[in-house]
């Protein structure tokens, strides 16, 4: 939306040409200027400039929906709202399972089973809807090289022996799990940016990133100056793209995080990355979040 060219915002041709002489070509450039600067650049009076601002804003602004319309839309297809984890206690606490359309974060100390959980969810996502799955492909971005294809087949064969009764079924399932090994923050971000087309072409129904914390902690030492800002820059940029993908395609996105010790007098264990990423936090090792939170 930001990069939308002013031509498509229904400004007149000469106005667009005049603005492009000042290097103002997108709606973002236009809206970042103050009123006086706009008057100078467009050569219009104060009231005219306000009208132009409204026109450009209307081209960028989001559509209004009432909460009632959102509820109606959700109630039309309720089954696609969650991916059940098949762990009954967990599903009950989460009111159905891992929610579609938002980000979920899994945190724990090492060895608790985050990667195993992710592998199991990948299997579940490839199952048909009648068995509680999402009948789609999975994109698995692995930063720790911890994904094991043999373990994947073992889980599938032992958990659903009736469904995966032949080798072809297993191979078919493995073919729909797309694994990407990314070892730097830069490549993770590039991969996240390229996901939109992959989701459409491969009919992806689940995105897993295991784990965000390891690349970030490897590259950003928060004791060095300036690193905190860069780290938060990377995290929020990735988070906003992932949120957009989750909402646009109504699919669940799962991220794993690590535990760090906070050296204050408060609770000893705290999840790393106080980031704006998490909509939901399933902390296996540390305290669970309070009730009433979806």
């Amino acid at each position: 939306m930001a990069a939308k060219k002013l031509r498509r915002a229904q400004l007149s041709q000469e106005m667009c040409e005049r603005l492009s002489r000042y290097q103002i070509t997108t709606c973002q450039d236009f809206l970042c200027l103050s009123l006086l600067e706009l008057m100078k650049v467009t050569g219009q009076s104060y009231y005219e400039v306000q009208k132009l601002l409204c026109k450009v804003s209307r081209a960028c602004a989001p559509k209004m929906q009432t909460a009632y319309e959102m509820k109606l839309r959700k109630s039309v297809n309720p089954s696609s709202a969650f991916l059940s984890t098949t762990l009954h206690g967990l599903d009950r606490v989460l009111h159905g399972g891992v929610p579609c359309g938002s980000l979920t974060e899994i945190t724990s100390p090492p060895g608790c089973g985050k990667t195993q959980f992710c592998i199991m969810l990948s299997v579940l996502a490839t199952l048909p809807v009648s068995m509680g799955g999402l009948d789609g492909a999975v994109i698995y971005i692995d930063t720790e090289a911890a994904f094991s294809a043999e373990r994947l087949i073992e889980i599938a064969a032992n958990r659903f022996p009736a469904y995966f009764d032949s080798d072809e079924k297993l191979l078919c399932m493995t073919r729909s799990i797309h694994l990407y090994r990314e070892l730097t923050c830069c490549s993770v971000l590039k991969r996240i940016m390229s996901l939109e087309e992959e989701i459409i072409s491969k009919k992806v129904q689940l995105i897993i990133i295991d784990s965000v914390a390891s690349v970030v902690r490897k590259e950003f030492d928060t004791k060095l100056q300036g690193n905190l800002a860069e780290r938060s820059n990377f995290l929020t940029r990735g988070a906003s793209v992932l949120k957009y993908l989750a909402e646009e395609f109504s699919i669940p996105v799962i991220l794993t995080n690590q535990i760090t010790t906070s050296l204050s007098s408060g609770p000893g264990i705290r999840a790393d990355l106080v980031s704006p990423v998490d909509d939901l936090s399933l902390s296996e090792g540390s305290r669970t979040k309070g009730n009433g939170q979806k």
Partner: protein, 366 residues
Amino acid sequence: MQREVGTLPLAPALRARLAAAGFQTAQELLDTGPCGLSKEIGISREEALEALQVVRQECQGGAARPTGGSGATRTYTALELLEEEQSQGFIITFCSALDNILGGGVQLTKITEICGAPGVGKTQLCMQLAVDVQIPECFGGVAGEAVFIDTEGSFMVDRVVDIAAACVQHCHLIAEAQQEEDHRKALETFSLENILSHIYYFRCRDYTELLAQVYLLPEFLSEHSKVRLVVIDGIAFPFRHDFEDLSLRTRLLNGLAQQLIIVANDHKSAVVLTNQMTTRIGQSQSTLVPALGESWGHAATVRLIFHWDNSQRLATLYKSPSQKESTIAYHITSHGFRDVQPPAVTHSTEGTELNPRKRPRAREEQ
């Protein structure tokens, strides 16, 4: 009438021509008339007429000022302001301790900012307020509608349904206990469906959409004149990345704050913003402070900071022009934002905990 031509809101090219032709005051322009003006400067008659209309509008606005007529600036006496403030309603939060420290609830015509770490309850409070603003006047509410601008995608419709259902239930109980006619009539329109239809939701994905939406807000509010609450959930999120030029960010945020102040005042609505926390690395320790920098701290009139103390959620009133700094505990239940049973109000013993630059308040006799 003696206003200089250079200060009029005309197009810069036109102003340059007028200055070159020797015009100095607005009165000269009005005396010349459109035909004379068009001949002297070399513009068409229609353009000259438009320019004169702008000039006349500006000057008339100025002349009406001393008599206190309707215009951009009006003088009020403090007594008028006092009467207005006392008759204004508050938006209650259903947590009586929080309402107490705020002086009644979230105030209309003011900007309230809620800061806190993720998961502490900011969006929950925003959703609660979006429902509470619609409570009918006979139950103590302001009977307004709500605009919810979401930048983080954390708005959950199902949760709003739970909160709204609990609120309607609460009002039904009051109506049964008091058995008054207007209570029953109000309850007919105060239903789940109505509550949800009066929450206007906008999802802004980056700061351009947010800026665009705030520019369009005055128009939207004049069409929907019953709106009494504007929530921007996550004002920090779109501004925390993609900004190498921090001075541009400060400028955009200041512009945003000014527009929100205008919206709050002109439309008599409360503006609620939520902010994130960031770590400030000091010499010996690092503290959690509200994000977006020091200059953003001036934008909001009232500032609340939500934080954890072991497993108890606390809310601290950090900045307020009329209330004392205090901390209270609150709870988030399946019905929404509530008190801790029993409600406990503790005054912070050291105001220096959160902001070392604030002078500690001398302890008063209770």
